[in-house]
């Protein structure tokens, strides 16, 4: 199986060749394989740096790309490097060339002045920069038990960046939102590869869209963003899951009625229950579109399965997020959650950013050891011990365990 560099992105159905059934081993573009330690299904993935603008990434899917960030990256700077920021597309018709002079963002619908905004014009608007975590709704889905279908991510479908751009509110104000508008829908350049397939589009309530925090970003950690992360402009919805962070945004439509499109009305919906939790197999629950993120934290200074020498006390570090608000504190345990120790939080880059934590913690014994971290956000919500379950595999947020072996 070879990695062709030819890129007729509209290749497509015509070529759905009947193969002889070559084994799916490491594709030719794989530099090595990595074990994601998944409980349910196939656990090995290739590592690849074959994607434009991207360094070494966990390959979940080539076409269209699903690239996961290796956990070790999160032990570096709290801002995820652009070239290791995760990548996630639904449909494979992704433009591979963007002309910055020709690109326009259309603003239309229930507005008094429909607009067609060029990038030159966008760059002249009042600017904001905000640190915010972009996390896939299905991040950590592969850890759901019983397992659920969908992209089988471990924890790396997330990243934190400084987003530079303009307020959506300012753009909407220039267009003049008409009375009676209820929502704003965001469409993008990527397209379904079959006629009639649901084009990816997401919407926010008009009040959310005008809250002054939602942004149209063109800068990511001080640079233009990699094409695979949404160049030239992507929506930033601080504190909300990545499904709303529409990439290659080129269409803003103010709606006078709720969005009944597939991606809002059917997909990315969670049980309207506490913690989005239902009994495995349960079907009779009310569902709502996924929305705000919840607190999470991870040990990043040691990897799953790592062996270390015994010591009375060891340094432990990691990252935490508050979800839709800041991180208040993080505690850690080295004895499967029996004893908890305080950690010291690193610099505060704003409530939507990752926050580094560090601690020096005792080890009581040699052998297999379960490390845990627990985040409280500033709203007083703590990560629960018990995992949730829902059929979409969304919103995992329980205390995570890193298994190490102390020698």
């Amino acid at each position: 199986m070879k990695l062709a560099q030819a890129t007729n992105r509209r290749r497509f159905l015509a070529e759905a060749a009947i193969g002889s059934g070559a084994l799916i081993a490491a594709p030719a573009l794989a530099q090595s394989m990595v074990d994601l330690h998944l409980p349910g299904g196939p656990s090995e993935r290739p590592m690849t740096s074959a994607f434009p603008g991207k360094g070494n990434m966990i390959l979940q899917r080539i076409h269209p790309p699903l690239l996961e960030t290796p956990m070790s990256v999160f032990n570096g700077d709290v801002f995820t490097p652009n070239d290791q920021f995760f990548v996630r597309w639904h449909w494979a018709d992704i433009p591979t060339a963007i002309d910055v002079e020709a690109f326009r963002i259309k603003v239309h619908g229930a507005v008094t002045r429909p607009l067609s905004i060029s990038l030159a014009q966008l760059l002249k608007l009042p600017r904001v920069e905000l640190a915010a975590i972009n996390q896939c709704s299905g991040n950590s889905r592969a850890l759901f038990q019983p397992p659920v279908a969908g992209a089988q991510w471990r924890h790396g479908a997330m990243g934190n960046a400084k987003w530079l751009g303009v307020r959506l509110r300012d753009v909407l104000d220039i267009a003049g939102v008409k009375p009676g508008a209820v929502a704003v829908r965001f469409g993008a350049l990527d397209q379904p590869v079959v006629a009639g397939g649901p084009d990816f589009a997401k919407s926010l309530s008009i009040d959310h869209a005008r809250d002054g925090e939602v942004m149209l970003a063109f800068g990511m950690n001080g640079e233009q963003m990699p094409l695979l992360n949404g160049f030239p402009v992507r929506l930033i919805v601080p504190g909300w899951y990545s499904t709303y962070w529409v990439k290659m945004l080129n269409d803003i439509e103010v709606l006078a009625a709720p969005d009944d499109g597939y991606w809002m009305a059917k997909a990315y919906k969670i049980p309207d229950t506490p913690g989005a939790n239902v009994r495995p197999g349960q079907k009779d629950f009310p569902a709502v579109p996924i929305n705000k993120m919840i607190p999470r934290s991870w040990v990043t200074s040691l990897d799953e399965g790592q062996a270390i020498a015994f010591d009375r006390s060891i340094p432990l570090g990691g990252i935490a997020m508050g979800g839709d608000c800041g991180v208040a504190k993080v505690d850690v345990s080295t004895d499967n959650g029996k004893t908890w120790y305080k950690t010291v939080l690193g610099p505060d880059h704003g409530k939507y950013s990752f926050r580094r934590w560090d601690a020096q913690v005792p080890l009581t014994h040699a052998g297999p050891t379960r490390l845990m971290s627990r985040c409280w956000n500033t709203a007083g919500i703590a990560q629960p011990m018990t995992p949730i379950w829902n059929p979409g595999g969304f919103m995992r947020g329980n205390i995570e365990t890193t298994n190490i072996v102390v020698g």
Binding site: I24, Q60, H63, A97, D99, V193, G219, P280
Partner: protein, 158 residues
């Protein structure tokens, strides 16, 4: 470029709005096209107020990966490699026959996969056999979605 410090870089917005209204106009009042580009090209770029965006063109890897050999591999390879890599299905945890039926139904009904109804049993058989070979194979447990309702219940994705 050096990134400005986190937080809001504020500007007199009322003034800016007026200027922008004039500058942006409606979709029909486009500004005149820029003068013809000089022959030797750095990628075209636009910039203002200390930030530039340059035109970009990339090559995306294509996937020649196929479903491994086995009964009905020809059918699944003919139907399930066009929209996305085979790895999308091959990386799934073990699913029951009902769950795979729900997935294939979703591909056809929601994503408009051009899969003939006659091919569905062979595809489901291939995928179910694949799941059975996995260590933690599903035994048709409580999580089985209703094959018809599945697309409407969770819609999935993420």
């Amino acid at each position: 470029m050096k990134t400005p410090s986190i937080g809001t870089l504020s500007f007199g917005f009322v003034g800016a709005t007026v200027v922008l209204l004039l500058a942006i106009g409606s979709p029909n009042s486009r500004v005149a096209p820029p003068p013809a580009a000089p022959t030797a090209p750095p990628p075209p770029s636009v910039s203002a107020r200390g930030f530039s965006l340059a035109s970009t063109s990339v090559d995306l890897p294509t996937d020649e990966g196929q479903y491994p050999a086995g009964p009905h591999a020809d059918v699944i390879n003919a139907n399930c490699t066009s929209c996305h890599s085979a790895s999308m299905a091959l990386n799934q945890p073990p699913l029951s026959g009902d769950q795979w039926t729900a997935e294939v139904t979703k591909m056809r009904e929601v994503y408009k996969a051009p899969v003939a109804a006659a091919d569905v049993p062979a595809i489901v058989a291939y995928l179910t056999a694949m799941s059975t070979k996995q260590p933690g194979a599903a035994k048709g447990k409580a999580q089985d979605p209703d094959p018809k309702a599945a697309p409407d219940v969770s819609g999935g994705s993420g």
